[in-house]
């Protein structure tokens, strides 16, 4: 615990200087991580197969995890030191004021904090007194003494002594809080970054949010604001503040529409890595289920009984285990996409959204191929019925194929897989045991629509901030995703303008509109596909997800109907098909090249 002299003398700039250096290490490690992922991993990945490459890949991946770890933890240390210096400034100021007042009054502050004062009285003999903190009248130090005392200086000295003691107490509390937080930020020895280490890093982040909450307050992060407001807020921060928010509140920063994609990606990757570790550890801790049936101990009928231990296991883990496995599958799919950078020419990935728990357990995954802030053309693909985090791999693959097909047109493209809504689980009656399929209701789309709309606005805002223009955007909806797209076009304000330049739908059961114009775009920018053997458009029109039973592949809808060469509801993104190629043409704005029905 510091003394008042130590509080007076402490050079707080030493802490902020040190913070700057930790911050530099954190930022450098972040950049180095990108260099590992894109400069090393992708290269090896692109060229070699076999055991040597696997070993090398494992080593390089470990290096990447190290830089991630350094980025997080050194960033937290930076914030701790800045928070410490900022918070200590207040008691130090308070102390210095008290000391100045003592000096100007001719009092002496003794080494132990008591205040010596000359007696000032008509009745008392000249001499001196000593005041100490801890007033007899609580909450009014100096007052009681001053009023009741025959010595006019007594109360004033008492007040000064109390303020000195208070300042020291406050400083000690701050110091203790940050010291504990800092001690939690030890590096594990060695080179391994284990799941335990990453899970600890998540805890460290939480602890630092508590410890440094007064300094870096998450209330200042905009909530429920427009992406433009978010972008403005981000612009208003210093680089150091941005770095601090990104390392201290990665989940909030990663989810903020309108922020630069690279910033969101860094923040979300941090959350992803830590969630992966936590999920794995929790899975590891679940014991194997005990034997389900036991022979009936009474030997009579029935021959077997359910093992009570099994029932207990079921109660405890029966729901949790598959849920964790689902989350892990989703994370592995995203990690798989990260690792595929460089393979088949795939560009770097940007994780623009990650939350395994939101949307009623369906989760959120938003991943871009290539940087959407700078691409000339950005396409956003919205998956449909039954989508959830555990099965997201197939949708990521579709976005990859959209990227490859449209990049082949010779354009600078970014394709985004956007999944951030509670998707209906059943597509048709009896599917998943539902008599009335969930997809026949538009409430799922209604709930998700504002989220999609805000995301599209954010994409535009980030593009404008980075490139000075909004770029060309295409919104692609598959199946129920197209219903959501239809709702989203109508979720904005009238002066927002169209949600995208072009809209493509595949296997659409209806868009909550009966003509393209209702979507805020003209018919020539509306593109619909319905493959042979895809029964969803018909089914959708029967349950009324369109309006007046009209679906986008109907001529009344007033859009373009593109020719398809795929079969059924799920093959529109098969490689080398006209179905995929037509989408690529729209994405790059080559409307002449689209082959219509």
């Amino acid at each position: 615990m510091p003394t008042w002299q130590q509080l007076r003398d402490v050079k707080l700039s030493e802490y902020t200087d040190a913070a700057d250096d930790w911050g530099r290490i954190s930022s450098r490690s972040n950049a180095d991580k990108d260099r590992v992922d894109n400069g090393m991993f992708a290269r090896i990945n692109d060229t070699q197969k076999g055991e040597t490459a696997d070993r090398a890949s494992a080593d390089v991946r470990q290096l990447s995890r190290n830089f991630q770890y350094l980025h997080t933890e050194c960033g937290l240390i930076r914030t701790a030191l800045n928070g410490l210096a900022t918070e200590l400034a207040a008691p130090q100021r308070k102390l210095k004021q008290a000391l100045e007042e003592a000096e100007s009054a001719g009092f002496t502050v003794l080494p132990d904090g008591r205040v010596q004062y000359p007696t000032r009285s008509f009745v008392l003999a000249p001499g001196s007194g000593t005041a100490e903190a801890g007033a007899p009248v609580p909450y009014a130090p100096g007052m009681g003494e001053g009023v009741g005392s025959a010595d006019a200086n007594k109360g004033r000295a008492e007040d000064i002594a109390e303020r000195i003691a208070q300042a020291v107490r406050e400083a000690a509390e701050i110091d203790g809080r940050y010291a504990a937080a800092l001690r939690g930020l030890k590096a594990e020895p060695g080179l391994t970054v284990s799941d335990e280490t990453l899970a600890d890093a998540a805890k460290d982040t939480k602890a630092m949010q508590e410890a440094a909450g007064k300094y870096a307050d998450d209330d200042k992060i905009p909530k429920g604001k427009s992406p433009q407001d978010n972008a403005e807020w981000w612009k208003s921060l210093t680089q150091e503040q941005r770095d601090e928010y990104a390392t201290l509140y990665p989940a909030s920063v990663g989810a903020l529409d309108g922020l630069p994609s690279a910033v969101r990606d860094d923040a979300n990757r941090m959350v992803l890595a830590e969630t992966r570790a936590q999920t794995q550890l929790e899975l590891n801790a679940i014991p194997k289920p005990p034997q389900q049936y036991l022979p009936n101990p009474s030997g009579s009928y029935p021959a077997v009984i359910t093992n009570p231990a099994y029932r207990e296991w079921q109660d405890k883990y029966g729901d949790r285990k598959p849920e964790l496995e689902r989350i892990k599958n989703g994370i592995d799919a995203v990690q798989g996409r990260f690792d595929a950078t460089g393979k088949d020419g795939l560009p770097e990935a940007y994780l623009l959204g990650f939350d395994p728990r939101t949307n009623n357990g369906d989760g959120r995954i938003i991943l871009a191929n290539g940087n959407p802030d700078t691409a000339d053309h950005t396409a956003v693909y919205v998956p449909g019925t039954g989508t959830e985090i555990g099965g997201i791999g197939g949708d990521l693959e579709r976005a990859n194929r959209l990227w490859t097909a449209s990049t082949r047109q010779g354009a600078d493209v970014s394709t985004i897989m956007w999944f951030d809504y509670d998707a209906p689980r059943s597509a048709y009656p009896t599917d998943k045991g539902d008599v009335f399929p969930e997809a026949a209701r538009n409430e799922y789309a209604e709930k998700g629509a504002p989220t999609l709309h805000t995301f599209m606005e954010g994409t535009r805002a980030a593009h404008e901030a980075a490139s000075g223009s909004s770029g060309h955007t295409t919104l692609i909806g598959h199946s129920y995703g197209s219903t959501l797209v239809g709702e989203a076009t109508q979720a904005g304000r009238i002066f927002d303008g169209p949600i995208a330049d072009d809209i493509v739908v595949a296997g659409s059961p209806g868009m909550q509109a009966n003509r393209a114009a209702d979507l805020g775009i003209s018919g020539e920018h509306m593109w619909a596909m319905g493959a042979e053997g895809d029964n969803v458009p018909l089914g959708g029109s029967l349950v009324g997800l369109g309006e007046d039973w009209v679906v986008p592949t109907d001529p009344e809808f007033g859009g373009n109907v593109m020719k398809t060469d795929t079969h059924g509801h799920s093959d529109y993104w098969n490689e080398g098909t006209l179905s995929l190629n037509n989408q690529a043409k729209v994405i790059v704005g080559d409307y002449e090249g689209v082959i219509l029905e």
Binding site: M1, W22, R24, R28, D32, R43, D46, A56, Y178, A187
Partner: protein
Amino acid sequence: MTLNARWQGLFEDTAPSGPSERPAAMTLAGTTAGDGGASGSGGTDLKADVGPWHQAGNASGELRVSTGTSLTDLERGNEGVAGGTAGFDSSAALTEILGTWKARLTSVRDECGRLEGALKSAGRDFGEREADTQRRIAAGAPAPSRTKEG
């Protein structure tokens, strides 16, 4: 430059890669594109798909330097703290964790150095095999002149 011992065994076990595994187009492209200017490792034996491995090795070398800079930052940034902040437990805490991060950064820096060497060696080894295979298959074709690095 010594081949990393951990990977050495792998190379011995790896059967020479046939042309079907790596298309000739890649080899030819690599020969012309090359990456001879990439760094001072000086080998003229960098051919074919050695390029990416060598580049990855170079990247690792840059990361070694970068991590070295971080180590310097770490020392400089914290040297004034102890003297200027006597009596504060946070300073003691900082000193305690400082050593652990020095150790981690040192491990990372050394690993970058190890990978730099190992990746470049691997690339060179792949390249040699590739060239040998090419020679065997296209006997009579002029083999690129090169010197084996010792």
